[in-house]
C-alpha cells in the first residue's frame, strides 16, 4: 500500500479522455433506458463503438443486441468483418433488411443497382418499433457533417422517429438523461467528440481489426462523378466509363454503389494515420455520394429519422 501511494497518477491524454467519456455515455444510457441497441455497419466508427461497449461492460456480456441495417449492397469484406466482430464480442446480431422493406411494399424498389441509402430510414425505424428499442447507439461523429455538428450526444426522436433541430433538449455537463415516453426513442452518439484522426489513432493504439477494404489494395474501379467506384455486383461500368485497376483504399464504408475509394498506398494503420493527418479533403467529401444531393442533405435525412 505505501509504495502505491507514492506513484504518480496515471497520465491521461486526449484518447484516454475520449475513451472514458464514450464508456461513461454507454453505461449511462444502458442504466437509464429499458431496451438499448447498438447500430453496427461494420465500418470503422461502429467497430470502435463495439470495442468500447465491450470494455464498458467487461467481463460481462454486452447488455444489448447489435443491429445491422442491411441494404443488401454491401462489400463482402464488410459482412465478413461484421460477423467476426460480433462473434468476438459474443453479441446477439439482429439483421434488419432493406430488401424486406422493399418486398413488403413499404418503400419503392429502386432497382437492383439503384441507391438504397435513403430507404434505410424506413427499415431502421420499423426495426426500432418492432423490437421496442428506446435507445439506439450510433457511431456518428460531429466532425463528419455540419448537421451532425449540431446534434446532442443523447438525441431525442419523437414517435415518428423525427429529429427536430430547433427543439433539442438542453444537455448540461455530463448529466445525460435518457427518459422517453412509449413510442419515442433516443439516438446516443458516444463518439460525438471524436474526429476521424482520433478514430484512427485509437484503432492503432488498440490494435483493432478492421475490414480489409480500409487498407490499400488493387481493385477495378471506374471514375464517376469525381469518385472511384469499385466495379462489382452493384456497380457496372456505364457506356464511356473506363475500368482501371488502381491501388486504392476506402476511407468510409457505406453502400458499394455510393462509396468512393481513394487512391492510397497505406497498407498499415500507422500509414493510414499519416495519410489522414495530411488529408486535404474530408472523408465524406472524398467518398460519399449520399451527401452530394444538396446543401442540407444530411439535415434533411436526419429529420426523417436517418442515423
Amino acid at each position: 500500500m505505501s509504495t502505491s501511494l507514492l506513484q504518480a497518477p496515471h497520465m491521461t491524454n486526449h484518447l484516454d479522455l475520449l475513451e472514458s467519456h464514450a464508456i461513461f455515455i454507454l453505461r449511462e444510457v444502458v442504466a437509464e433506458c429499458e431496451r438499448p441497441v447498438l447500430l453496427f455497419s461494420g465500418g470503422k466508427d461502429s467497430a470502435v463503438l463495439l470495442h468500447l461497449a465491450a470494455k464498458a461492460f467487461a467481463p460481462q456480456a454486452l447488455p444489448f443486441p447489435v443491429m445491422h441495417i442491411d441494404t443488401g449492397q454491401n462489400f463482402p469484406e464488410v459482412i465478413e468483418f461484421r460477423d467476426s466482430a460480433v462473434a468476438r464480442a459474443s453479441a446477439r446480431l439482429i439483421i434488419a433488411s432493406v430488401q424486406d422493406s422493399i418486398d413488403q411494399g413499404k418503400v419503392a424498389d429502386p432497382g437492383p443497382l439503384g441507391p438504397r441509402n435513403r430507404l434505410q430510414t424506413v427499415t431502421l425505424l420499423d426495426a426500432i418499433t418492432a423490437h421496442g428499442f428506446d435507445a439506439a447507439f450510433g457511431g456518428a461523429r460531429r466532425d463528419e457533417d455540419k448537421a451532425r455538428a449540431k446534434e446532442r450526444i443523447l438525441s431525442f426522436r419523437d414517435a415518428f422517429g423525427q429529429w427536430d433541430p430547433r427543439q433539442q433538449r438542453p444537455e448540461l455537463w455530463q448529466l445525460y438523461q435518457g427518459k422517453v415516453n412509449p413510442g419515442e426513442h433516443l439516438r446516443a452518439f458516444p463518439l460525438s467528440d471524436w474526429t476521424e484522426l482520433d478514430i484512427w489513432q485509437y484503432i492503432e493504439r488498440e490494435h483493432m481489426e478492421l475490414p480489409r477494404i480500409y487498407f490499400a489494395h488493387e481493385r477495378d474501379v471506374v471514375l464517376r462523378d469525381g469518385m472511384y467506384l469499385a466495379v462489382g455486383p452493384f456497380v457496372a461500368p456505364r457506356p464511356g466509363e473506363v475500368v482501371e485497376r488502381l491501388t486504392v483504399r476506402f476511407r468510409t464504408v457505406g453502400d458499394a454503389n455510393l462509396t468512393g475509394a481513394v487512391l492510397s498506398h497505406a497498407t498499415t494503420l500507422s500509414a493510414i494515420v499519416d495519410e489522414i493527418s495530411l488529408a486535404n479533403v474530408s472523408e465524406r467529401g472524398a467518398t460519399r455520394g449520399d451527401d452530394k444531393f444538396s446543401e442540407t442533405a444530411m439535415e434533411d435525412r436526419k429529420r426523417e429519422g436517418y442515423f
Binding site: P9, V30, D145, R169, E295
Partner: protein, 418 residues
C-alpha cells in the same frame, strides 16, 4: 507518425447576437487550415447561393437550413481543431436570448469562454447574461475578442473603453483571468496572425491566447475524490466492481473510501480503466473500483475520500430556468444529480437575479431564461458538494415529469456574486 500525447481544451463562444461569434470561429478554423478543401468549397457555394458575398465565414458553423436562411445561430455547433500538443473542442454558442438554454449546454463543459463583442456596441444585455451564466457554470478564464475593429478605424480609444466596461463586469462576476484582444474576425486581423493595423497593441492573437491557457480546468476542484456509481460489474469468479467517472482529487489503490449515503468505510483494492489496471486514477477517467469489503453499493451511490460531501434532502441552489411554463412554488419535478434520479419539489423561490444589476430580488416565479436562487426538497437523499468546489457532485438538472424535457440547470449553493 508517433502518436502525439495531446491535452484537451474545451471552449465555448459567448456574446450577443451579430457580434461575430460564428465568423470568428469560422476565421479561426480557416486560417489554421482545420477545414478540408471540400468543406471550404461548400461554404463558398452556400455564400454565393444566398448572395452574402464570396465567403460568409459564419456558414462554417451555422450548418442548419434555418440558421443559414435567418443568418443566426440557433443551436451549439461543435467544431474541432488540433495542434501538435492540444486538441480543441469548440462549442460555438447562439447569442439570441431565446436560445440561452443552448448556450448553457455549450458552456457547461467549457474550460474557458471566448467572449466576442462588437467594439462599437460595447457590453449588451445578452453579453451580460451570457457572462453571468458562464460565471455561474464555473468558467474562470475569459479570452475576449473585441471584434469589428476595422469598423472603428482600429481606434485604441474605442477598444479601451469596451475593455474597461468589460473588466468591471468580469471583476464583479469573479472571473480569475481575462485576456482582451482587438480583432477583426471578418478580415482575419489578430485571429491567428498578429495584426499590422494595431501598432499600439502588443498582446497575443486569439490563437496564441488559446494555446497559452490551461486545459482541463473544467475539472477544477477542491474536493476529495468522488466516484458516483454508474453501474455494478460482476467479476468472473465472484465479486463486484463499481464503475463510474472519477471527479475531484485523484484516487489511489490502498486508499480509504466512504460509501455514501450508507456511510460505510472500506479500502480501494483495484482501479481499472479502459487501458488496464492502475495504481492511481485522475479526474475524467472512467474506472472500475474494487473494494476490500462486501458492500451493497449500487447506481446512485457515491464513493468519496475526505473531505466528505454533504448528505441532504433540502438545499439551496442556483438555477437557470429553461421551461416554457414558469417555475412556481411547490411545483413537482424530477431531479437528476450524478447517477441518481429522484422526485423534487420547489419549496421556495429565494430570489430572482436581475442581470442588469446582478442583484437578487424577491419574486414568486421564474420565467424562461431567468436565473434564480431557490430551495428544493428531494424525496431521496443526495450526496452533494457546493458547485464551486466540484462541478460534478455540485450540479443537477430538473426534468419535466410528463414530457421528460430538461427544464433547468441547477448548481448547489449560491455564487459569490449573488
Amino acid at each position: 507518425m508517433k502518436l502525439a500525447a495531446k491535452d484537451l481544451l474545451r471552449l465555448a463562444t459567448v456574446g450577443s447576437v451579430d457580434d461575430g461569434k460564428s465568423t470568428l470561429i469560422g476565421r479561426l478554423l480557416v486560417d489554421t487550415r482545420q477545414l478540408f478543401d471540400d468543406q471550404l468549397d461548400a461554404v463558398v457555394a452556400a455564400s454565393e447561393k444566398r448572395g452574402v458575398g464570396d465567403l460568409d465565414l459564419s456558414f462554417v458553423t451555422d450548418g442548419l437550413r434555418a440558421e443559414r436562411e435567418q443568418g443566426i445561430t440557433i443551436d451549439v455547433a461543435y467544431r474541432y481543431a488540433s495542434t501538435p500538443t492540444r486538441k480543441f473542442i469548440i462549442a460555438d454558442c447562439p447569442g439570441h436570448v431565446q436560445y440561452t438554454r443552448n448556450m448553457a449546454t455549450g458552456a457547461s463543459t467549457a474550460d474557458l469562454a471566448l467572449v466576442v463583442l462588437n467594439v462599437a456596441h460595447g457590453v449588451k444585455e445578452q453579453t451580460r447574461r451570457h457572462l453571468c451564466i458562464a460565471a455561474l457554470l464555473g468558467v474562470r478564464t475569459l479570452i475576449v475578442a473585441v471584434n469589428k475593429m476595422d469598423e472603428v478605424n482600429w481606434s485604441e480609444t474605442a477598444y479601451l473603453s469596451v475593455v474597461d466596461e468589460l473588466s468591471t463586469l468580469a471583476h464583479e462576476l469573479g472571473f480569475a483571468s481575462m485576456t482582451p484582444i482587438p480583432v477583426s474576425a471578418l478580415l482575419g486581423e489578430n485571429v491567428v496572425e498578429r495584426s499590422s493595423h494595431l501598432d499600439w497593441y502588443d498582446g497575443p492573437s486569439v490563437l496564441q491566447a488559446l494555446e497559452a491557457c490551461t486545459a482541463g480546468s473544467w475539472n477544477h476542484t477542491t474536493t476529495g475524490a468522488r466516484l458516483p456509481v454508474q453501474w455494478v460489474l460482476r467479476q468472473n469468479g465472484g465479486g463486484r466492481t463499481y464503475a463510474g467517472m472519477l471527479s475531484g482529487a485523484a484516487l489511489h489503490v490502498g486508499e480509504r473510501v466512504t460509501l455514501l449515503p450508507a456511510n460505510v468505510e472500506t479500502t480501494v483494492v483495484s482501479l481499472t480503466s479502459g487501458s488496464g489496471a492502475h495504481q492511481a486514477a485522475t479526474a475524467g477517467l472512467s474506472i472500475d473500483v474494487g473494494l476490500a469489503d462486501e458492500t451493497d453499493a449500487g447506481r446512485g451511490d457515491l464513493l468519496a475520500t475526505a473531505p466528505l460531501p454533504t448528505l441532504t434532502k433540502e438545499f439551496e441552489a442556483t438555477v437557470c430556468w429553461f421551461g416554457e411554463q414558469p417555475l412556481r412554488h411547490s411545483q413537482r419535478l424530477r431531479l437528476k444529480h450524478t447517477s441518481k434520479v429522484t422526485p423534487v419539489r420547489l419549496q421556495e423561490i429565494l430570489g430572482v437575479v436581475d442581470i442588469e444589476t446582478l442583484s437578487v430580488n424577491a419574486g414568486d416565479q421564474l420565467t424562461t431564461n431567468d436565473i434564480g436562487v431557490v430551495s428544493l426538497q428531494t424525496a431521496d437523499w443526495l450526496v452533494v458538494d457546493d458547485y464551486r468546489d466540484n462541478r460534478v457532485t455540485g450540479s443537477f438538472v430538473l426534468i419535466d415529469e410528463v414530457t421528460n424535457a430538461t427544464v433547468a440547470a441547477g448548481m448547489m449553493g449560491r455564487a459569490t456574486f449573488l
